[in-house]
Amino acid sequence: MKIKTLQDLENVRKAGIKKLFPDKPRIAVGLATCGIAAGGQDVYEALETALKKKGVNAFLTKTGCFGICNEEPLVNIAMPGKPLVILHKVQKEDAESIAERVAKGKLPEEKALCKIEEWDHITSEKPFFYGKGYENIPLWNEIPYFKPQKKVVLRDAGIINPEDIEEYIAVGGYSAVYKALTKMTPDEVVEEVKKSGLRGRGGAGFPTGLKWEFTKKEKSDVKYVICNADEGDPGAYMNRNEMESDPHMVIEGMIIGAYAIGASEGFIYVRAEYPLAIERLKLAIKQAKEYGLLGEHIFGTEFSFDIRIATGAGAFVCGEETALIASIEGKPGRPRPRPPFPAQKGLWEKPTNINNVETWCNIAPIIKKGGEWFSRIGIERNTGTKVFSLVGKVNKVGLVEVPLGTTINEIVCHIGGCGIKSKEIKAVQTGGPSGGCIPRNLFDTPIDYDHLKEVGSIMGSGGLVVMDEDTCMVDTAKYFLSFTVDESCGKCVPCREGLKRMYDILEKITDGRGTEEDLGILDELAHTIKATSLCGLGQTAPNPVITTIKYFKDEYMEHIKNKVCPARVCRALIDYFIVPDKCKGCTICAKNCPVGAIDGGPGLIHIIDQSKCIACGTCMDVCPFDAVVKLSGEKIDTPDKPIPVKKGR
């Protein structure tokens, strides 16, 4: 049906509410990419079979990701009038027992992670109340992982079915479009966004309202809006989840933006590595068209707007807006100098407004609740929340949404629960290849655009990669350089040649051939490349090197002076040994070595053939006697060939 009036919208909302609160148990399996990879799809199918087999009257559906990735697969169950309970680490083998208990009106409480009694979807008129009960299950915001979080962008993720527009409308979806189109002028919309203080979530943090105003002011018969979903920062996946878990919020934001600046066509530029996001966006666009929320005369007004998907093809530089435009035009994605900015001359030379996925996700709440409301979240000049992907060497990994200005410590230690296996956390990397490594002693730094810049990093799209004592900072710098060298489009010399030279020097250092002079050259190259590159990729690419030299110079010096990798990572500087006195000749290491580099036999002291060893560490992991050691800068005496283990041990 086509929605033309507020009453139409209200009718669909009621239909959606019936799906979210059916008069029977609702079971929703978390099926975003990581949920599926963790076995969610198998769980869904097993539940489907089990419910059928046992004749249980329940509504089985899918949902997106609730953000606590360690605990997947997640399944949430809501009995009518009772709290929504989130079950964690559900396996397909659990399906029968879940079905049995649901049939009896019960829950597998031992699998419960937390419960939700009330949920604020932000865009709905008032929060949804599920019910009270289950005294032994903690409330979702009582558990340390969620306690400091505030879900504005992830307001629907993991609760509604992302493939059903009616459920999105049920939680107040598209009512912000209605409000903007029928009750506000384009100027008022821009004003509201300006008032909110929202800054671009793609990394640079340019004020969104101002950007819209630039494009709005341009006179042109055709204007475009683009959603930059080319989430290229390695270690960052919040945009993927936003699109997979709640694709309509992206579309809703774009409709409002297009109305404000006067665009009639929009594109979502998604990277090809995200097939599920593409699939769900395509479906969402199709549904929005069917319901008349995209297309001609939206809500019966004069405003018409349509969205298409354009897919990227694996080029990091296409996250840069002029390169992205070139890519949509069917060219290799090479940036061009600005000005003219896309606001003046963008796609097909027409005024174009580009915003990141997460920026668009914030628009509907801003219009619905007002810029003033939004500006009260976060801190001055850094309003609203930001979703971070907390990953790497940290206990709890996942998507974390917190108000801007939250400290690194709060996120890494309180939400993330500090290091794995009580390892010492050394640094956190923000901003991907354009960002920097922030050392532990600066963890009281608030995460916002300005403070991160002060410590030499950037916000970027929101990746937070935690590094511990086993991470080598020189290797990390080299890793990012290898990335940017590969991804440099080759157009300007400083980036194309300079980064390659920096990489060569870092390789020299990690190979144990570095000199102190190299650090000076690295520094000089870094600052020259920053100052003279054409686009953001080159201008920021030296950041990982600059920050690691600044904060971890001692590690560089160890590599250079003593030929030692303190974290024991750099391949050329480490060796694995089996300590003869500890080896019991059990043969487990030899059996598990993937490359057959261990010589030995039952009752013999095993020896690693250094010429074959690929330093994968498997032997060290499997040895029951801790007889395998990894050393840098030292060696231990081992026999020339396997000899019998001394008796009595």
Partner: protein
Amino acid sequence: MDKEKLQEIIDKYDTESGKLLGILEDIQRTEGYLPKDLLIYVSKHLNVPLSKLYSLATFYSFFNLQPVGKHIITVCMGTACHVKGAPHILETIEELLGISPGETTSDGKFMLTTSDKQFTVNTARCFGACSMAPVIRVDGKIYGYNTPKKVAEILKKYGWRGK
């Protein structure tokens, strides 16, 4: 794919925006690579120089110009995977399948195929499945929390018979 199917793909795109890359991606998804005869057809049909298609195919890492093996293994080289040992995973796979590390194909891309054409190994910048790092993908299915030992077991599922 036959010419009819290709024509269908081409006709799907009714606007210039996103058209060329979209067509190439559709071909790549079906064929696993970009066969020369199909590129020639696209070039003639859309009146786009073949050199331009070649330029796109070599600029974007998603495309490849050479046939791939029966199973495609992609090792994620994202930051989270890197700090959790992705280089070891890649090295182990190369070692197990007996393909030499560090080689690239003539179009400058990292892609290695075993001599029996059973496996092709390549790398990706980031799948965005960082919570399960280190991650690999085999024929579209994602496997997380890998170790060198686990990788060998995964390969066996796809018919690898051991060294």
